[in-house]
Each structure stands twice: as C-alpha cells, then as structure tokens.
Amino acid sequence: METLNLIFLSVIYTAIYFGILLLHIAYATYAERKIIGHIQLRLGPMVVGPHGLLQPIADVVKLIFKEDIVPSRADKFIFKVAPLISLTAALSSFAVIPVNQNWVISDIDVGLLYVLGIAGISVYGIVFAGWSSNSKYAFLGGLRSAAQMISYEVALGLSLVGVILMAESFNLTEIVNKQSEYWYGMFLLPQIIGYFVFIVAMLAETNRLPFDLPEAETELVAGYFVEYSGARFSLFYLAEYAAMFCMSALAAICFWGGWTVPPFLIKAFPFLEEVPGIVWFLLKLYFHIFLFLWIRGTLPRYRYDQLMAIGWKVLIPLALVNIVLTSILKYYL
C-alpha cells in the first residue's frame, strides 16, 4: 500500500510539474517573439488574443493539425523516433531539478551528473533526425550538431566541476543550500570563470545563436529538422525550449543560489525573506531565458570551425584553469 501510494503521488506530482513546465515553455516562445520583436522595432504577435497572448495556443493547435509528412526515402522508424528521443531527453532532466526547498520530483544524490548525462542523450535525437531524413541539408545539420554538442558538453561539464568542488555534492538541493552558507550567498562570485564558460557552453549546447549552426537558417535551410513537419516538428521545437529552461535552471541553481537570497541582502533588506523561494528561482531562471533571447537579437552566427576553436582552445582550458584555481582556494581557505 505504501509503495502504491508513493507511485500514485509521484505520478500526480509529475503531471502537475510537467503541466506547468510545458505552459512555461509554450509562453517562452511567445516571450521570444515579443522580446525579439521589440528589440527589432516591431510588435511581435498582436492578433490572437489581447497583445497576442493566445498565440502559443494557436501555434500548438496549428502544428498538431498539420499534415505529418514522412519522406518516402527516409528511414521511417528512426525518423519517427528521433523527435521523441529529443523531447524525452530534454524533459526528463527536470525530474531532478528542484524549484524550491524540497520541491523536487526526485531528489537524487547524483542530480548534476544525471542532468549532464541526459543532455548527452539528447544529441542522439538530432543525429538520428539528420541521418534518417535522407536529405543532405539535414545530414550536414546533424553532423554539425553531433560535433558541436559533444565538444561543448566537455566544457559544460568542466565548468560545473568548480561548483561541485565548492559544494562537495552532486545533489542540486545540497548545492543550493551550501551556497546560502557563504556570506555572498551564490557561487557566481568565486566561480565567475566557471559561470562564463557555462553561459557560453549553454548557448552552444542548446543550439542557440551565436552557435545555432545545426539549424543555421541561411546555410542549411533549417538543419537537422528540415524534413519534419507538423507535430513532429513541434516536438523538436519543444525540446529546444525545454533544453533552454533546463540550462537556465541549472545556471540559477549552480551559480545564482537557486531559491535562496544572499544573506548580506537579507541583512540589508529584511523584508526580502518574506518573498517565497519560488519567486527568486523563477526570477533567476527567466533572467537566463532573457539572456538567450537578448543574445539572439544582437549577435551574428559563428562559423563552424570558429565554433570548434572556441570550444577546444578557449573554453576547455578556461574551465580547467578554473578547476585548478578552485581546488587551490578550497585547499588553503
């Protein structure tokens, strides 16, 4: 009975959590279009609902009812499975991401490793999609993203090692709690190099500008998902946004202290303690989402070889230096 109850509760939690998450993701597309619109001197969606607020729903309905085309020369099974792999991988990392003290579906001790591992799986979706489409552009896009995501995963993982060293734990809740023990309340300050590497690697890992080479619109038309349409296309789209949320949440948790407020701020403004933790978490999360959009509105795209050079020649050495520095600090302080 006990186990059944637990399973039942988990399912309910998961449903609620992912319902809210998907709503956030849907409205992130709206936010993207609005924010980029205003950056570019236009209004963004304005027609469906007041200020276009119902646009994401209209988009979802449209995409679901579109014809689902599978190219006749495609490897049909892999073609159909690829978007599912991408989305499942992107969403399942949220299972271990805490949004507040004890607000987490599964509080496992290797949370951070799990997130990184799952992020590694999502590259399969893209490679499969590119390969099974039997289209040259999709193939090139798939190859690009395989190389890109694998090399930036190294930088992403290494940039988080500093955090792990300081928190002495892989558990994400533990990492947040550890940060509030320091007077500055977030690992952003001691881990500024790590944070920089993380931000750049995060952009590359989620295939966003300036590293959106796998789907470089003007070069590869749409990259790995060029042959996809309708619901399957929207799954890839969802996966991309879910990955953005996942990385933003990771940045908020590992570097910005998650749902906690720095102690020195609470000392200065005691009323800040009254604000619920979830608000802080969402603020920090959406700051990073905004960063994604802001960068997209401003920067051009890197070239493939330049991207690789940045990854291997700049970010990974920087991350390694960060690890050494953190270890020295940790040893002597």
């Binding site: 001197l41 590869l220 920067l299 051009p300 795209r301 890197y302 493939y304 070889d305």
Partner: protein, 397 residues
C-alpha cells in the same frame, strides 16, 4: 588496405534556387568534403525574362519601363542608364534641373539598395536585428519615391531627355531631414555589427580577391573598390550632375568581405553628402529637354482598332530616325549600386532599337563566386554571396 565501402566520397549539395540565402533564384552546385567546398558552380537563368530581346520589339521610350525590372532594388539608376544611352544616341541635352534630380534619385537609390544589401548580408551571417533597422530607413526613402514617381520599386521615373515629373519643396525638406539624420543611423548599424567580434571573425580574411584578379574578372563597383582599385564611373566618366558635386570614392585594401562591407558603409556617407550638395545647388528650370521623344496618348477617344494606337506611338518617335544615321551604335554606363551598369544599343534606321545589350554587374559578379568559395566552408558561401551583392533579376535579365 583501403576498404572500398568506406571510400571517401564528395557530397554534392544543391544550394538554391529556392534556398533562403541565395538572394533570389541563384543556384549553386557545391561539391563538399565535410564542410569544405571543393567545387562551386553557379547556375543562372531562372529569372530570365528576355528584357534585351523584348526591347527590340518596343520603341525606345517603351523599353524604359523594362529596365525597372533589371535590378529591381535600384530601378531609378537603371532608368537613368538607359535614358543616358538613348540621349547619347539621339544627341539630346538634358536640362540642368533634370540632371540634379537624377543625381539625387540615383544616390537615394544607392542608399536604398545598400540598405537592402546590409540587411540581407547581416541576416545571412545571423544578425537578424540589423535587417529590420535597415528596412526602417529604406521605408522612408521608398515613401519619398512614391511621393514623386508614384511607385515604390519600379518607378520608371527617368525619361529620355529628362525626368517625368518635377520635385517640390516638401520632397526636398523631407529628404534633407533624412539626410541629416542618416549618418547617425549608419553609425547605429556599425555599433551593431562593426564592433562585434563575431562579425569581424566571419568577414575578415574571408572571400579574398586581389586587385589584379578583380580587374581580370571584370568586377566593378564596391566589389572592385574593396580590393583597392580606384574605379568609379561617376568619377571617370561623369554623367548627370556628378561633375558638379564633391565626393570621395571609398577604397578597401585587402579585398575581403570586411573591406567590401566597409566600402559600402562609407558609400552611405558619400551618397548622403552628394544629396546634400544637390539639394543646395539644384537650379530651377525645365525638367525635360525640348527635343525629347515622348509618348502622347491619342487625343481622340481610343478606338478598339489596334493599328491606330500603334500609329500614334510610332509617329512620335519618327524624329529619332534622323539621328540614327549619324550614330549607329552607342554605349553608355552608370555607376549602379552594384557596379558599372552599361547599355549598348545598335540602331537600324527604325524607331526601335536593333539590339540592346545590358552589361549587368550582377552577371559579372556571379562569375567570381567559384573563385571566392572554393576551399572555404559552407558558411562562407553565404557570406560571399551577400558580399558581392548580386540581384538575379539583373543577372538573368
């Protein structure tokens, strides 16, 4: 011990004619090895409408609107080019005011066209915001075109021997206001892209063409000047009012994408400078030469009989015929935003040209694409297409 199943094979990628970054209907067949281009073959002709052949069946005045459709982003300059050729052929002296109006319009067109180039070039490289910023300024100029010529893109504004309608003070005020603000706007674009390391990395040292090669390929316009060759039709063979205004011809040094970009950004400022001087110096007077050939609509109500209409039109052009014996062929060129746009016309004692040949800069520039692209990466192809700035309407004619 080479396994035949794993033998290396080049991948042939068909870029275009419906590719989003080939600016119209250019088709490039790329043989790639990984991301590196081994061979690049441009195919053109998807937008061929037979403008040159059509002109042989139309009178000189009737051919003029066809030139709008050559380079649809700078129709004003095309009109001027064709009109200049026919004026040279017939021996018409254009009134001073018309010359200044043409110069103003040509430079406005240059700004418009370069804005579209900047917008699409930046979009190709991934900077999306510049696109809409540039379109904002272009919109203002297009509205000015509409105000005077009645059309935004295909204006057909020039006439053989002058221009169609006069400009007024309201137009000059609005234009003056824009020209005063415009240099600041250009700086705004430069902050967005010129100080951007990603942009510099994508453009510096990419798509290099030396001065000698550029001359051998017959390049003109900013593409040639980006390689450091001093050639500008406006300076070498001044037409319209270009000999009465002061301006500089910006030159590049290395001949890479960045230098071509810089050249065009500096041309923005020079164009603004030319327009400013023209607004100050513009004389009053007539806008069409006395002896200019014109089309008049039949005065009596139109009859359904087709012969009547044709008759009316042809009789007006009879005056051309007397000149034709003296000048059987003519070549005149203008500095279009993309390079030297030349019109070569051969006559055969009738009111229609015997042969019209357009020397379109886009056609010449498209030929240099393989030279620029081979050995570089796929992403550079896009940057190169953007930097040589070809318009397929002009290329295919």
């Amino acid at each position: 011990m080479k396994n035949n199943n794993l033998a290396e094979k080049e991948l042939i990628v068909n870029m275009g004619p419906q590719h989003p970054a080939t600016h119209g209907v250019l088709r490039l067949v790329l043989e790639v090895e990984g991301e590196i281009i081994k061979k690049c073959t441009p195919y053109i002709g998807y937008l061929h409408r037979g403008v040159e052949k059509l002109s042989e069946d139309l009178t000189y005045v009737q051919s003029l609107p066809l030139t709008d459709r050559l380079d649809y982003l700078s129709s004003m300059v095309n009109n001027v080019g064709f009109a200049l050729a026919v004026e040279k052929l017939v021996g018409i002296n254009v009134p001073e005011r018309a010359k200044f109006i043409r110069t103003i319009m040509s430079e406005m067109t240059r700004i418009c066209s370069h804005l579209v180039w900047l917008a699409t070039h930046a979009l190709d490289i991934g900077a999306m915001t510049v696109f809409l910023y540039a379109m904002r300024d272009r919109e203002y100029l297009l509205e000015l075109f509409e105000m005077i010529a009645g059309a935004r893109l295909t204006v057909s504004y020039s006439r053989i021997g002058g221009v169609r309608c006069d400009i007024n003070d309201e137009f000059l005020d609005k234009l003056g206001k824009f020209i005063n603000e415009f240099p600041d706007r250009v700086e705004e674009y430069e902050t967005l892209i010129d100080r951007n390391r990603v942009w510099l990395k994508r453009t510096k040292g990419v798509g290099v063409i030396s001065a000698e090669e550029a001359i051998n390929y017959g390049l003109t316009g900013p593409v040639l000047r980006g390689s450091g060759v001093y050639y500008d039709v406006r300076k070498f063979f001044p037409y319209d009012a270009y000999d009465q205004v002061e301006f500089e011809v910006p030159l590049g040094k290395n001949g890479d994408i960045y230098d071509r970009y810089r050249c065009r950004m500096l041309e923005f400022r020079q164009s603004a400078r030319i327009i400013k001087q023209c607004i100050e110096k513009i004389p009053s007077g007539s806008i069409l030469a006395e002896n200019a050939p014109r089309i008049r609509m039949p005065e009596s109500p139109l009859k359904i009989d087709k012969q009547d209409i044709n008759f009316e039109i042809y009789t007006e052009d009879k005056q051309i015929e007397s000149f034709i014996e003296k000048f059987p062929e003519v070549y005149a060129s203008v500095e279009a935003p993309r390079g030297e746009l030349g019109f070569y016309i051969v006559c055969d004692n009738s009111s229609k040209p015997f042969r019209v040949r357009v020397r379109a800069p886009s056609f010449v520039h498209a030929a240099v694409l393989p030279k620029l692209c081979e050995g570089s990466l796929i992403a550079d192809v896009i940057a190169n297409i953007g930097s040589i700035d070809i318009i397929l309407g002009e290329c295919d004619r």
